[in-house]
Protein backbone atom coordinates (compact mmCIF):
# COMPACT_ATOMS: atom_id res chain seq x y z
CA UNK A 1 0.00 0.00 0.00
CA UNK A 2 1.36 3.43 -0.95
CA UNK A 3 2.00 6.04 1.73
CA UNK A 4 -0.64 8.23 0.09
CA UNK A 5 -3.21 5.45 0.18
CA UNK A 6 -2.66 4.99 3.88
CA UNK A 7 -3.04 8.74 4.38
CA UNK A 8 -6.36 8.77 2.56
CA UNK A 9 -7.70 5.77 4.41
CA UNK A 10 -6.97 7.40 7.76
CA UNK A 11 -8.75 10.59 6.77
CA UNK A 12 -11.69 8.57 5.42
CA UNK A 13 -12.23 6.92 8.78
CA UNK A 14 -13.65 10.19 10.12
CA UNK A 15 -17.44 10.13 10.22
CA UNK A 16 -18.90 12.33 7.50
CA UNK A 17 -15.95 12.15 5.10
CA UNK A 18 -17.08 11.03 1.63
CA UNK A 19 -13.65 10.63 0.18
CA UNK A 20 -10.16 11.97 -0.14
CA UNK A 21 -7.64 12.40 -2.94
CA UNK A 22 -4.05 13.42 -3.47
CA UNK A 23 -4.08 15.81 -6.44
CA UNK A 24 -1.39 17.67 -8.39
CA UNK A 25 -1.83 21.41 -7.84
CA UNK A 26 -0.76 22.54 -11.28
CA UNK A 27 -2.75 20.22 -13.55
CA UNK A 28 -5.49 18.94 -11.23
CA UNK A 29 -4.73 15.31 -11.99
CA UNK A 30 -5.36 12.64 -9.36
CA UNK A 31 -2.28 10.94 -7.92
CA UNK A 32 -4.18 8.72 -5.49
CA UNK A 33 -7.85 8.53 -4.54
CA UNK A 34 -10.13 6.82 -2.09
CA UNK A 35 -13.67 8.00 -2.78
CA UNK A 36 -17.14 6.76 -1.99
CA UNK A 37 -19.11 5.41 -4.95
CA UNK A 38 -20.71 8.25 -6.89
CA UNK A 39 -18.14 10.92 -6.06
CA UNK A 40 -16.81 12.10 -9.44
CA UNK A 41 -13.09 12.21 -8.74
CA UNK A 42 -11.45 13.61 -11.90
CA UNK A 43 -13.76 16.62 -12.30
CA UNK A 44 -13.66 17.37 -8.58
CA UNK A 45 -9.88 17.16 -8.57
CA UNK A 46 -9.57 19.53 -11.53
CA UNK A 47 -12.01 22.05 -10.06
CA UNK A 48 -10.55 22.00 -6.56
CA UNK A 49 -7.00 22.38 -7.89
CA UNK A 50 -8.15 25.30 -10.03
CA UNK A 51 -9.81 26.91 -7.01
CA UNK A 52 -6.67 26.40 -4.96
CA UNK A 53 -4.51 28.04 -7.62
CA UNK A 54 -6.86 31.02 -7.66
CA UNK A 55 -6.77 31.29 -3.86
CA UNK A 56 -2.99 31.11 -3.99
CA UNK A 57 -2.82 33.93 -6.54
CA UNK A 58 -5.16 36.02 -4.42
CA UNK A 59 -3.27 35.76 -1.14
CA UNK A 60 0.02 36.28 -2.93
CA UNK A 61 -1.40 39.48 -4.44
CA UNK A 62 -2.10 40.65 -0.89
CA UNK A 63 1.40 39.64 0.26
CA UNK A 64 -0.07 37.17 2.74
CA UNK A 65 2.33 34.40 1.76
CA UNK A 66 1.57 31.10 0.11
CA UNK A 67 -1.82 29.44 0.58
CA UNK A 68 -1.57 26.29 2.65
CA UNK A 69 -5.22 25.47 3.21
CA UNK A 70 -8.51 26.03 1.39
CA UNK A 71 -11.99 25.22 2.66
CA UNK A 72 -15.08 25.62 0.51
CA UNK A 73 -18.45 25.29 2.24
CA UNK A 74 -21.66 24.33 0.49
CA UNK A 75 -25.17 24.00 1.85
CA UNK A 76 -24.83 20.21 1.81
CA UNK A 77 -21.13 19.59 2.26
CA UNK A 78 -17.56 20.75 2.38
CA UNK A 79 -14.40 20.60 0.31
CA UNK A 80 -10.96 20.88 1.86
CA UNK A 81 -7.63 21.25 0.11
CA UNK A 82 -4.43 21.26 2.13
CA UNK A 83 -0.96 21.93 0.71
CA UNK A 84 1.49 20.93 3.43
CA UNK A 85 5.21 21.22 2.60
CA UNK A 86 5.54 17.44 3.03
CA UNK A 87 3.41 16.91 -0.09
CA UNK A 88 5.48 19.20 -2.33
CA UNK A 89 3.31 20.30 -5.25
CA UNK A 90 0.47 17.99 -4.28
CA UNK A 91 -2.79 18.73 -2.50
CA UNK A 92 -4.68 16.61 -0.04
CA UNK A 93 -8.34 17.04 -1.04
CA UNK A 94 -11.17 15.92 1.24
CA UNK A 95 -14.89 15.84 0.41
CA UNK A 96 -17.19 15.73 3.42
CA UNK A 97 -20.76 16.14 4.62
CA UNK A 98 -21.84 19.51 5.99
CA UNK A 99 -22.01 18.22 9.56
CA UNK A 100 -18.49 16.79 9.62
CA UNK A 101 -16.23 17.82 12.49
CA UNK A 102 -13.99 20.23 10.58
CA UNK A 103 -11.45 20.47 13.36
CA UNK A 104 -11.08 16.69 13.44
CA UNK A 105 -10.56 16.47 9.68
CA UNK A 106 -7.88 19.13 9.84
CA UNK A 107 -6.19 17.52 12.81
CA UNK A 108 -6.16 14.07 11.26
CA UNK A 109 -4.92 15.43 7.94
CA UNK A 110 -2.13 17.24 9.74
CA UNK A 111 -1.16 14.13 11.71
CA UNK A 112 -0.97 11.85 8.70
CA UNK A 113 0.89 14.40 6.61
CA UNK A 114 3.44 14.87 9.39
CA UNK A 115 3.84 11.11 9.47
CA UNK A 116 4.68 11.22 5.75
CA UNK A 117 7.45 13.75 6.29
Amino acid sequence: MSAYRELLERVNRITGVRGAMVVAVEDGLIVEEDLMVGVPGPAAAALVASLFRRARRSVQAAEFGSASYLQVEGGEGLLFAAAPPQLGDLLLVVIAERWVNVGLVRLEAQKVVEALG
Binding site: D27, G28, V39, P40, P42, A43, A44, A46, L47, V48, A49, S50, L51, R53, R54, A55, R57, S58, V59, A61, A62, E63, F64, G65, S66, A67, S68, Y69, L70, Q71, V72, E73, G74, G75, E76, G77, L78, L79, I95, R98
Partner: protein, 308 residues
Protein backbone atom coordinates in the same frame (compact mmCIF):
# COMPACT_ATOMS: atom_id res chain seq x y z
CA UNK B 1 -18.67 26.21 -38.95
CA UNK B 2 -21.97 26.66 -40.81
CA UNK B 3 -24.94 28.14 -38.94
CA UNK B 4 -27.36 25.70 -37.38
CA UNK B 5 -30.53 25.00 -39.33
CA UNK B 6 -33.95 25.56 -37.72
CA UNK B 7 -34.45 21.79 -37.72
CA UNK B 8 -31.21 21.27 -35.81
CA UNK B 9 -32.11 23.94 -33.27
CA UNK B 10 -35.51 22.33 -32.77
CA UNK B 11 -33.96 18.90 -32.33
CA UNK B 12 -31.38 20.11 -29.78
CA UNK B 13 -34.05 22.04 -27.95
CA UNK B 14 -36.22 18.94 -27.70
CA UNK B 15 -33.27 16.87 -26.50
CA UNK B 16 -32.45 19.34 -23.73
CA UNK B 17 -36.11 19.61 -22.73
CA UNK B 18 -36.41 15.83 -22.53
CA UNK B 19 -33.12 15.33 -20.70
CA UNK B 20 -31.57 18.30 -18.82
CA UNK B 21 -28.27 16.38 -18.71
CA UNK B 22 -28.15 16.11 -22.51
CA UNK B 23 -24.97 17.38 -24.15
CA UNK B 24 -27.15 19.02 -26.81
CA UNK B 25 -27.07 22.11 -24.58
CA UNK B 26 -23.76 23.09 -26.15
CA UNK B 27 -24.70 23.22 -29.87
CA UNK B 28 -28.02 24.77 -28.85
CA UNK B 29 -26.26 27.49 -26.86
CA UNK B 30 -23.91 28.12 -29.78
CA UNK B 31 -26.91 28.45 -32.08
CA UNK B 32 -28.57 30.92 -29.69
CA UNK B 33 -25.33 32.93 -29.58
CA UNK B 34 -25.21 33.05 -33.37
CA UNK B 35 -28.80 34.30 -33.35
CA UNK B 36 -27.82 37.06 -30.91
CA UNK B 37 -29.77 35.47 -28.05
CA UNK B 38 -26.96 35.89 -25.56
CA UNK B 39 -29.05 35.65 -22.40
CA UNK B 40 -30.69 32.41 -23.49
CA UNK B 41 -27.30 30.98 -24.45
CA UNK B 42 -25.82 32.05 -21.12
CA UNK B 43 -28.57 30.38 -19.08
CA UNK B 44 -28.26 27.21 -21.12
CA UNK B 45 -24.50 26.94 -20.68
CA UNK B 46 -24.61 27.70 -16.95
CA UNK B 47 -27.27 25.00 -16.51
CA UNK B 48 -25.28 22.61 -18.69
CA UNK B 49 -22.15 23.18 -16.65
CA UNK B 50 -24.02 22.27 -13.49
CA UNK B 51 -24.48 18.83 -15.04
CA UNK B 52 -21.11 18.72 -16.80
CA UNK B 53 -18.66 20.91 -14.84
CA UNK B 54 -15.68 19.34 -16.57
CA UNK B 55 -16.90 20.24 -20.10
CA UNK B 56 -14.07 22.27 -21.58
CA UNK B 57 -15.95 23.58 -24.62
CA UNK B 58 -18.79 24.76 -22.41
CA UNK B 59 -16.41 26.71 -20.19
CA UNK B 60 -14.89 28.27 -23.29
CA UNK B 61 -18.29 29.24 -24.68
CA UNK B 62 -19.33 30.68 -21.31
CA UNK B 63 -16.16 32.77 -21.37
CA UNK B 64 -17.09 34.16 -24.81
CA UNK B 65 -20.61 34.96 -23.62
CA UNK B 66 -19.32 36.71 -20.52
CA UNK B 67 -16.87 38.74 -22.59
CA UNK B 68 -19.63 39.79 -24.97
CA UNK B 69 -21.60 40.94 -21.95
CA UNK B 70 -18.68 43.09 -20.79
CA UNK B 71 -17.84 40.74 -17.91
CA UNK B 72 -14.18 40.28 -18.70
CA UNK B 73 -13.20 39.04 -15.26
CA UNK B 74 -15.71 36.21 -15.40
CA UNK B 75 -14.65 35.46 -18.97
CA UNK B 76 -11.04 35.19 -17.84
CA UNK B 77 -12.09 32.80 -15.09
CA UNK B 78 -13.92 30.51 -17.50
CA UNK B 79 -10.97 30.25 -19.89
CA UNK B 80 -8.73 29.68 -16.89
CA UNK B 81 -10.94 26.74 -15.85
CA UNK B 82 -11.01 25.42 -19.42
CA UNK B 83 -7.21 25.43 -19.50
CA UNK B 84 -7.04 23.82 -16.07
CA UNK B 85 -9.21 21.00 -17.45
CA UNK B 86 -7.36 20.85 -20.77
CA UNK B 87 -4.08 22.77 -21.05
CA UNK B 88 -4.03 22.08 -24.81
CA UNK B 89 -7.35 23.80 -25.49
CA UNK B 90 -6.32 26.23 -28.21
CA UNK B 91 -9.36 28.56 -28.31
CA UNK B 92 -9.19 29.24 -24.57
CA UNK B 93 -5.43 29.71 -24.82
CA UNK B 94 -6.05 32.28 -27.55
CA UNK B 95 -8.58 34.28 -25.54
CA UNK B 96 -6.43 34.17 -22.39
CA UNK B 97 -3.47 35.44 -24.41
CA UNK B 98 -5.45 38.33 -25.84
CA UNK B 99 -6.83 39.27 -22.42
CA UNK B 100 -3.33 39.21 -20.88
CA UNK B 101 -2.08 41.35 -23.76
CA UNK B 102 -4.91 43.87 -23.25
CA UNK B 103 -4.09 44.02 -19.55
CA UNK B 104 -0.47 44.74 -20.30
CA UNK B 105 0.71 41.44 -18.80
CA UNK B 106 3.00 40.83 -21.74
CA UNK B 107 5.02 37.95 -20.30
CA UNK B 108 1.83 35.92 -19.74
CA UNK B 109 0.48 37.08 -23.11
CA UNK B 110 3.56 35.75 -24.89
CA UNK B 111 3.25 32.42 -23.11
CA UNK B 112 -0.40 31.97 -24.11
CA UNK B 113 -0.21 33.48 -27.58
CA UNK B 114 2.79 31.41 -28.65
CA UNK B 115 0.81 28.27 -27.89
CA UNK B 116 -2.28 29.71 -29.58
CA UNK B 117 -0.26 30.39 -32.71
CA UNK B 118 0.90 26.77 -32.77
CA UNK B 119 -2.80 25.90 -32.97
CA UNK B 120 -3.54 28.34 -35.80
CA UNK B 121 -0.51 29.83 -37.50
CA UNK B 122 -2.69 32.07 -39.71
CA UNK B 123 -4.52 33.87 -36.91
CA UNK B 124 -3.64 37.49 -37.74
CA UNK B 125 -4.99 38.93 -34.53
CA UNK B 126 -2.94 36.56 -32.41
CA UNK B 127 0.18 37.14 -34.48
CA UNK B 128 -0.11 40.93 -34.19
CA UNK B 129 -0.71 40.81 -30.44
CA UNK B 130 2.16 38.37 -29.99
CA UNK B 131 4.59 40.57 -31.91
CA UNK B 132 3.53 43.55 -29.83
CA UNK B 133 3.84 41.56 -26.58
CA UNK B 134 7.30 40.31 -27.59
CA UNK B 135 8.50 43.85 -28.08
CA UNK B 136 7.00 45.10 -24.82
CA UNK B 137 7.50 42.30 -22.33
CA UNK B 138 10.88 43.58 -21.18
CA UNK B 139 10.07 47.28 -21.59
CA UNK B 140 10.07 49.53 -18.53
CA UNK B 141 6.62 49.51 -16.84
CA UNK B 142 5.79 53.05 -17.86
CA UNK B 143 6.34 52.26 -21.52
CA UNK B 144 4.43 49.01 -21.41
CA UNK B 145 1.11 50.41 -20.28
CA UNK B 146 -0.86 50.65 -23.52
CA UNK B 147 -0.98 47.83 -26.03
CA UNK B 148 -0.78 48.84 -29.69
CA UNK B 149 -3.97 48.57 -31.75
CA UNK B 150 -4.49 45.25 -33.45
CA UNK B 151 -6.52 44.61 -36.59
CA UNK B 152 -9.96 43.44 -35.47
CA UNK B 153 -10.97 39.89 -36.27
CA UNK B 154 -14.26 38.05 -36.10
CA UNK B 155 -13.71 37.12 -32.47
CA UNK B 156 -11.70 40.16 -31.48
CA UNK B 157 -11.37 40.52 -27.74
CA UNK B 158 -13.18 43.77 -27.05
CA UNK B 159 -13.26 43.06 -23.34
CA UNK B 160 -13.58 45.83 -20.82
CA UNK B 161 -10.42 46.46 -18.81
CA UNK B 162 -9.67 43.83 -16.22
CA UNK B 163 -11.59 44.58 -13.05
CA UNK B 164 -8.45 44.36 -10.96
CA UNK B 165 -6.67 46.97 -13.01
CA UNK B 166 -9.64 49.30 -13.03
CA UNK B 167 -10.33 48.81 -9.37
CA UNK B 168 -6.70 49.34 -8.46
CA UNK B 169 -6.42 52.45 -10.61
CA UNK B 170 -9.55 54.20 -9.39
CA UNK B 171 -9.94 55.87 -6.04
CA UNK B 172 -12.00 53.42 -4.00
CA UNK B 173 -15.03 55.72 -3.88
CA UNK B 174 -15.26 55.77 -7.66
CA UNK B 175 -15.51 52.03 -8.09
CA UNK B 176 -18.99 51.47 -6.73
CA UNK B 177 -21.88 51.47 -9.15
CA UNK B 178 -24.32 52.97 -6.72
CA UNK B 179 -25.01 53.62 -3.13
CA UNK B 180 -22.15 56.08 -2.72
CA UNK B 181 -22.36 59.52 -1.29
CA UNK B 182 -25.39 58.87 0.90
CA UNK B 183 -26.04 57.69 4.41
CA UNK B 184 -26.18 54.04 3.31
CA UNK B 185 -22.65 54.19 2.03
CA UNK B 186 -21.37 56.16 5.01
CA UNK B 187 -22.91 53.61 7.33
CA UNK B 188 -21.46 50.55 5.62
CA UNK B 189 -18.08 52.20 5.12
CA UNK B 190 -18.03 53.01 8.83
CA UNK B 191 -19.03 49.47 9.79
CA UNK B 192 -16.42 47.87 7.56
CA UNK B 193 -13.80 50.30 8.86
CA UNK B 194 -14.66 49.31 12.44
CA UNK B 195 -14.57 45.59 11.60
CA UNK B 196 -11.20 46.05 9.93
CA UNK B 197 -9.89 47.58 13.14
CA UNK B 198 -10.93 44.61 15.29
CA UNK B 199 -8.24 42.69 17.15
CA UNK B 200 -6.07 40.73 14.72
CA UNK B 201 -8.10 41.76 11.65
CA UNK B 202 -6.14 43.10 8.67
CA UNK B 203 -9.19 44.37 6.83
CA UNK B 204 -12.74 43.79 5.65
CA UNK B 205 -14.22 44.60 2.24
CA UNK B 206 -17.58 44.34 0.53
CA UNK B 207 -17.38 43.44 -3.16
CA UNK B 208 -19.96 43.49 -5.91
CA UNK B 209 -20.43 40.48 -8.16
CA UNK B 210 -17.85 41.84 -10.61
CA UNK B 211 -15.09 41.96 -8.02
CA UNK B 212 -15.19 45.71 -7.46
CA UNK B 213 -14.76 46.98 -3.92
CA UNK B 214 -17.91 48.70 -2.63
CA UNK B 215 -16.69 49.43 0.89
CA UNK B 216 -13.81 48.77 3.27
CA UNK B 217 -10.14 48.04 2.74
CA UNK B 218 -7.45 45.44 3.43
CA UNK B 219 -4.31 47.30 4.37
CA UNK B 220 -1.01 45.46 4.13
CA UNK B 221 2.25 47.35 4.61
CA UNK B 222 0.42 50.66 4.36
CA UNK B 223 -1.18 49.76 0.99
CA UNK B 224 -4.81 48.83 0.40
CA UNK B 225 -4.65 45.35 -1.15
CA UNK B 226 -8.44 44.92 -1.21
CA UNK B 227 -8.81 45.43 -4.97
CA UNK B 228 -6.11 42.90 -5.83
CA UNK B 229 -7.46 40.25 -3.47
CA UNK B 230 -11.00 40.95 -4.58
CA UNK B 231 -10.29 40.78 -8.29
CA UNK B 232 -8.71 37.35 -8.05
CA UNK B 233 -10.81 35.77 -5.32
CA UNK B 234 -14.25 37.05 -6.30
CA UNK B 235 -14.25 34.85 -9.41
CA UNK B 236 -13.73 31.90 -7.12
CA UNK B 237 -17.36 32.04 -6.00
CA UNK B 238 -18.67 30.93 -9.40
CA UNK B 239 -15.99 28.28 -9.61
CA UNK B 240 -16.73 27.10 -6.08
CA UNK B 241 -20.44 27.02 -6.85
CA UNK B 242 -19.93 24.75 -9.82
CA UNK B 243 -17.55 22.42 -7.97
CA UNK B 244 -20.02 22.11 -5.10
CA UNK B 245 -22.97 21.59 -7.44
CA UNK B 246 -21.12 18.89 -9.33
CA UNK B 247 -20.42 17.05 -6.10
CA UNK B 248 -23.97 17.51 -4.82
CA UNK B 249 -22.78 19.69 -1.95
CA UNK B 250 -25.31 22.50 -2.42
CA UNK B 251 -24.91 26.23 -2.94
CA UNK B 252 -21.68 27.87 -1.78
CA UNK B 253 -21.74 29.36 1.70
CA UNK B 254 -18.16 30.39 2.23
CA UNK B 255 -14.49 30.02 1.37
CA UNK B 256 -11.63 30.01 3.85
CA UNK B 257 -8.00 30.37 2.78
CA UNK B 258 -5.09 30.09 5.19
CA UNK B 259 -1.45 30.99 4.76
CA UNK B 260 1.35 30.99 7.32
CA UNK B 261 0.62 34.73 7.81
CA UNK B 262 -3.10 35.16 7.36
CA UNK B 263 -6.61 33.75 7.35
CA UNK B 264 -8.94 35.01 4.62
CA UNK B 265 -12.68 34.42 4.78
CA UNK B 266 -15.11 35.07 1.93
CA UNK B 267 -18.90 34.68 2.17
CA UNK B 268 -21.81 35.58 -0.11
CA UNK B 269 -24.02 38.48 1.01
CA UNK B 270 -27.00 38.98 -1.28
CA UNK B 271 -25.55 39.80 -4.68
CA UNK B 272 -22.33 40.94 -3.06
CA UNK B 273 -19.42 39.15 -1.43
CA UNK B 274 -17.77 39.90 1.90
CA UNK B 275 -14.08 39.31 2.43
CA UNK B 276 -12.34 39.51 5.80
CA UNK B 277 -8.62 38.95 6.37
CA UNK B 278 -7.06 38.29 9.76
CA UNK B 279 -3.59 37.68 11.05
CA UNK B 280 -2.69 34.09 11.78
CA UNK B 281 -2.07 34.88 15.44
CA UNK B 282 -5.81 35.19 16.06
CA UNK B 283 -7.93 32.02 16.08
CA UNK B 284 -9.65 31.11 12.81
CA UNK B 285 -12.97 31.08 14.66
CA UNK B 286 -12.52 34.75 15.53
CA UNK B 287 -12.01 35.67 11.88
CA UNK B 288 -15.14 33.68 11.00
CA UNK B 289 -17.16 35.60 13.60
CA UNK B 290 -15.95 38.97 12.33
CA UNK B 291 -16.79 37.83 8.80
CA UNK B 292 -20.32 36.91 9.93
CA UNK B 293 -20.76 40.42 11.34
CA UNK B 294 -19.41 41.91 8.11
CA UNK B 295 -21.95 39.84 6.20
CA UNK B 296 -24.78 41.18 8.36
CA UNK B 297 -23.58 44.75 7.70
CA UNK B 298 -23.39 44.03 3.97
CA UNK B 299 -26.91 42.62 3.88
CA UNK B 300 -28.23 45.72 5.67
CA UNK B 301 -26.46 47.92 3.12
CA UNK B 302 -27.55 45.95 0.05
CA UNK B 303 -31.09 45.60 1.34
CA UNK B 304 -31.34 49.24 2.31
CA UNK B 305 -30.78 50.86 -1.06
CA UNK B 306 -27.07 50.24 -1.42
CA UNK B 307 -27.42 47.51 -4.05
CA UNK B 308 -26.64 48.04 -7.71
Amino acid sequence: MSPATPAQVRQWSEEVAADPASLAFLPLARAYREQGRRDAALKLVVRGLEKHPGHVEAHHLLGLLYREGGESLKAFDEWDIALALDPEHGPSRREMGLVCWERGDFAAAVRHLEKALENDAFDREVRAALEDAWSRRSAPPGLAAEPAPVPPAETSAQAAPEAAAVSAALPSAAAAPSGRGGSHFDAVEGEFGALGAERGIVGAVLLDDQGFVLAGRVTVGGTDRGPEVAAVLSGASAEAGRALAHLGLGAWKGILVETPEAVVRMTPAGDGIVLVAGRREVPTGWVLRVAARARDAALRFLGGGGGA
